[in-house]
């Protein structure tokens, strides 16, 4: 007999495929209803003659109805052809692949920073409920959460890069430099700006989740049998508090790929967010659809991973 987990994953994968086709169909449709089109950029360029635009329309296949283009695109994807960008003429997958290292580096740094700080802060706030430290953390996280990313980013730039000159303003490397230290110097501000929101929200979730678990009978039992407080916290409380956090992290997985468009723009970071924003602005359909499809797939995979992690964290959860 098949393992229940395997058949569960197989079933979810089947559902995911159908979902992805639906997602792509709806997004392709919406994109075509949106005002403008891939030629809008040329239409408003005094150097591009009207006759040329007509030729381009036929060359890019834009004279066909959108569902015809969608079916051709879907057929291409099924055969592994992701197509070429309308603007650069380069293979879409190549354009995405060259962004992956910068995107992962920034997003994983922010992710790591968020985990490293939100866990101790969340647990501290819960175990010191309503102390001045807890109140200060609450205030701090609401402030961090409410603060606009672009403002915080520009303020950091002004202070650390323009006034004190201890960090570079923007970019990923000093031109020509490949040293790790140089990379790290460029990573500090964008990583901090990006991680701050997650630190604020995760620590709040963890705080309420830990508080809820602290009131459970099994925690009182563990304490009653004389288990040291630290062990109660690590073995019983923290593990049971993780479920909502794991859901959040699972849902954030696709963000690792999709990048962070505001932070990337402020710090001139060559990540995925800027690539997709310009694809969207230029109505570069092949590039836009590829990004959307990969992002949607990761959202689905992240969801699945979160569901699987529940079972690891809570033996009462079973998959059928």
């Amino acid at each position: 007999m098949e393992h229940p987990l395997t058949s569960y994953i197989a079933r979810r994968a089947g559902q995911a495929c159908i979902l992805l086709v639906l997602v792509s169909l709806v997004s392709y449709g919406i994109m075509n209803v949106a005002p403008g089109g891939p030629l809008a950029v040329y239409l408003h360029n005094p150097q591009v003659t009207p006759e040329k635009i007509e030729v381009l329309r036929v060359q890019l296949g834009l004279d066909r109805p959108w569902y015809g283009r969608y079916l051709a695109w879907l057929g291409g994807i099924a055969r592994g052809h992701w197509g070429y960008s309308y603007y650069t003429g380069r293979p879409v997958l190549e354009m995405i692949a060259e962004r992956l290292p910068a995107t992962f580096l920034l997003m994983l740094s922010a992710f790591a920073l968020a985990i490293a700080l939100s866990f101790p802060l969340g647990v501290f706030a819960a175990t010191h409920k309503y102390s001045w430290g807890d109140n200060l953390l609450s205030l701090g996280s609401f402030f961090a959460w409410a603060m606009p990313t672009f403002w915080f980013g520009l303020m950091l730039q002004l202070i650390l890069a323009v006034r004190l000159r201890i960090l570079p303003v923007a970019g990923m490397h000093e031109i020509g430099s490949t040293s790790f230290l140089d990379l790290l110097r460029h990573l500090v501000m964008p990583g901090l700006v990006l991680g701050l929101g997650s630190i604020a929200s995760w620590s709040r979730y963890l705080r309420s989740s830990v508080l809820e678990v602290l009131g459970q009978d099994y925690v009182r039992t563990a304490r009653a049998k004389g288990m040291p407080g630290r062990r109660v916290l690590n073995r019983h409380v923290l593990r049971n508090s993780l479920i909502p956090i794991v859901t959040l992290m699972g849902l954030d997985l696709h963000v690792l790929f999709g990048g962070a468009v505001i932070t990337e723009s402020i710090f001139g970071w060559p990540g995925m967010g800027r690539l997709f924003l310009s694809a969207l602005n230029n109505r570069d359909y092949p590039l836009q659809m590829a990004g959307l499809l990969i992002s949607a797939s990761l959202l689905i995979v992240g969801n699945l991973l979160a569901d699987l992690a529940y079972a690891a964290l809570d033996p009462r959860i079973r998959y059928e």
Partner: protein, 526 residues
């Protein structure tokens, strides 16, 4: 214990990262500038974004070029002759010119450029004038003969001013291969610099072309950084990481002027702001359009919104250029005359104070681009001024795709006024803007005459201007064209933008004017 080591490690890394770097700012011999968008393509015939031409200007040359004083001067050619009938143009190429890969430039390259620009399988975006060429002959490696289908006066501007691309690199490729060629990211040119590295959305590094035909560039490297955020660009300048920040936003100008390490260079940009009047209903009456021009507080916009970083506009020819009609003066802000014109046109105030005619209110919605804060502010000044003469108006701001797209205000068959920036550069060719043959039928149709202006005399003059090779005669025609633009108000000319380039004090040899900058091979950094 382990935690302690980890913590100490993190602290060390942070401390190291925060240490000031030794050489802040571009190294000597390196010139750093910045663009907002990622360049899409370095083949000048395939590129559609301004950011691409901000790189290719260093890489390619044309037969003739406009220098920063506005004069035509020979570049890859040394001279040319035109036959009496204006149909045959013969250019002599400069001998000894080499491409950045060392291959010699020949007349075959110039001929191939024509073949490329007219190749139906290539995604060509720039090809003005190439379709007027019937054939191209290359009797010798240094002479090239263009034979035209009909006399075509803009030929010199458009063809002699177009970049020459290398036949030995692109010639063997099919059209489809040219669309996807590595050349599009790493081009081979005859210009002072060659692209040595392109990291998308990060930077383009150009290095001095050792084969360059004019004097060897004084700079070793030229770096074009790609940073979308305007505030970050200003911060880069303030931190000393840029040699040049072109076109500083007016709001930040005062602050940048105060920086001791920066010099600001001011010049008139060949781009004007305008209100396009879509002639569907009441706007088809020239008196209504003239009235709106009188009711638009242009001087106040220049003073209060542009902070003086703009100049009055009266036609589409840049006022310090050779084609401007200097007899024309902008209509002053005069609400009384505006009201009188509308009264003459038969409009009477209704019960709500709004003018009406034949039972219909004079409603003209105002639109602009949400991405252009200055134009949005201008819109907010224009709307109340129009209301004060009895015109009903609404204000909208939208993205470019929404404003100019099929669902936008231009195609619903109703009067509308659109504020945006435009310009044909320093050249006079404005046919696609005013000729009635270029009235587009929908958002996807060819043509720039979206205001739907139609005037037989204008059509005739535009046709004649293209056929007239005689310079004095051409000037007279374009003078009359500008008189018609002013008299008929197909659009309201708001102002010419002024550009302010912030240049690091360490830079020498950089000057910028309406017509362009000093040759990049003359730029240097101390």
């Amino acid at each position: 214990m382990n935690k302690g080591i980890a913590l100490a490690g993190i602290c060390c890394l942070l401390a190291a990262a925060l240490l000031p770097s030794a050489g802040a700012g571009p190294a000597p011999g390196t010139f750093a500038t910045v663009v907002s968008e990622n360049p899409d393509n370095f083949n000048p015939y395939l590129a559609s974004l301004l950011a691409s031409s901000q790189v290719t200007r260093y890489v390619f040359n044309s037969l003739y070029t406009i220098n920063y004083k506005g004069e035509w001067e020979p570049a890859l050619a040394t001279g040319y002759t035109v036959s009496r009938d204006g149909l045959t143009w013969t250019f002599t190429l400069r001998p000894g010119v080499r491409w950045s890969d060392g291959e010699p430039l020949t007349s075959a390259d110039a001929k191939f450029t024509w073949q490329l620009a007219t190749n139906k399988d290539v995604h060509i975006t720039y090809a003005s004038g190439f379709d007027k060429i019937a054939s191209v002959d290359t009797p010798t490696p240094v002479s090239i003969v263009y034979r035209l289908k009909e006399p075509y006066a803009p030929f010199r501007d458009q063809i002699a001013g177009a970049a020459i691309v290398p036949q030995h690199v692109l010639g063997p490729l099919s059209g489809e291969q040219i669309n996807r060629a590595p050349f599009n990211q790493k081009p081979v040119g005859t210009g002072p610099f060659a692209v040595s590295e392109f990291v998308t959305d990060d930077h383009v590094t150009l290095t001095a072309n050792p084969y360059y035909w004019r004097s060897r560039p004084r700079l070793q490297r030229l770096i074009v950084r790609i940073v979308p955020d305007r505030n970050t660009q200003v911060n880069l300048l303030r931190a000393g990481e840029l040699s040049l920040l072109a076109s500083v936003p007016p709001a930040q100008l005062e602050e940048i002027r105060r920086l001791p390490t920066v010099v600001v260079k001011r010049y008139l940009s060949p781009v004007y702001a305008l209100i396009q009047l879509d002639e569907y209903e009441f706007l088809r009456d020239v008196r209504v359009r003239q009235a709106l021009d009188f009711a638009t507080p242009k001087a106040s916009i220049i003073k209060n919104i542009m902070k003086g970083q703009a100049e009055p506009a009266v036609s589409d020819m840049v006022p310090n250029g050779p084609w401007a009609n200097r007899q024309l003066k902008p209509r002053p802000y005069d609400p009384a005359r505006a009201r009188q014109l509308l009264a003459d046109a038969g409009f009477r105030p209704g019960p709500d104070g709004v003018l009406a005619k034949g039972g219909r209110r004079l409603l003209i919605p105002l639109w602009t681009l949400s991405s252009q804060p200055l134009l949005v502010q201008a819109l907010q000044l224009i709307a109340p001024a129009w209301r004060s003469i009895g015109v009903a108006t609404e204000t909208h701001s939208a993205s470019a795709a929404a404003l100019f797209g099929q669902n936008g205000p231009q195609w619903n068959g109703r009067d509308a006024a659109l504020i945006f920036g435009w310009g044909q550069g320093v050249l006079p060719q404005n046919r696609i803007n005013w000729h009635s043959a270029y009235i587009p039928k929908d958002a996807n149709a060819p043509g720039e005459n979206a205001e739907r202006y139609s005037n037989l005399e204008m059509d005739r003059l535009l046709d004649e201007a293209d056929r007239t090779v005689d310079e004095a005669r051409r000037h007279a025609i374009y003078n009359r064209i500008q008189e018609l633009e002013f008299r008929d108000v197909p659009i309201i000319f708001l102002f010419w933008f002024v550009s302010n380039d912030a240049v690091a004090a360490s830079v020498q040899g950089y000057e910028a004017t309406t017509f362009g900058a000093t040759p990049p091979e003359e730029w240097s950094t101390r």
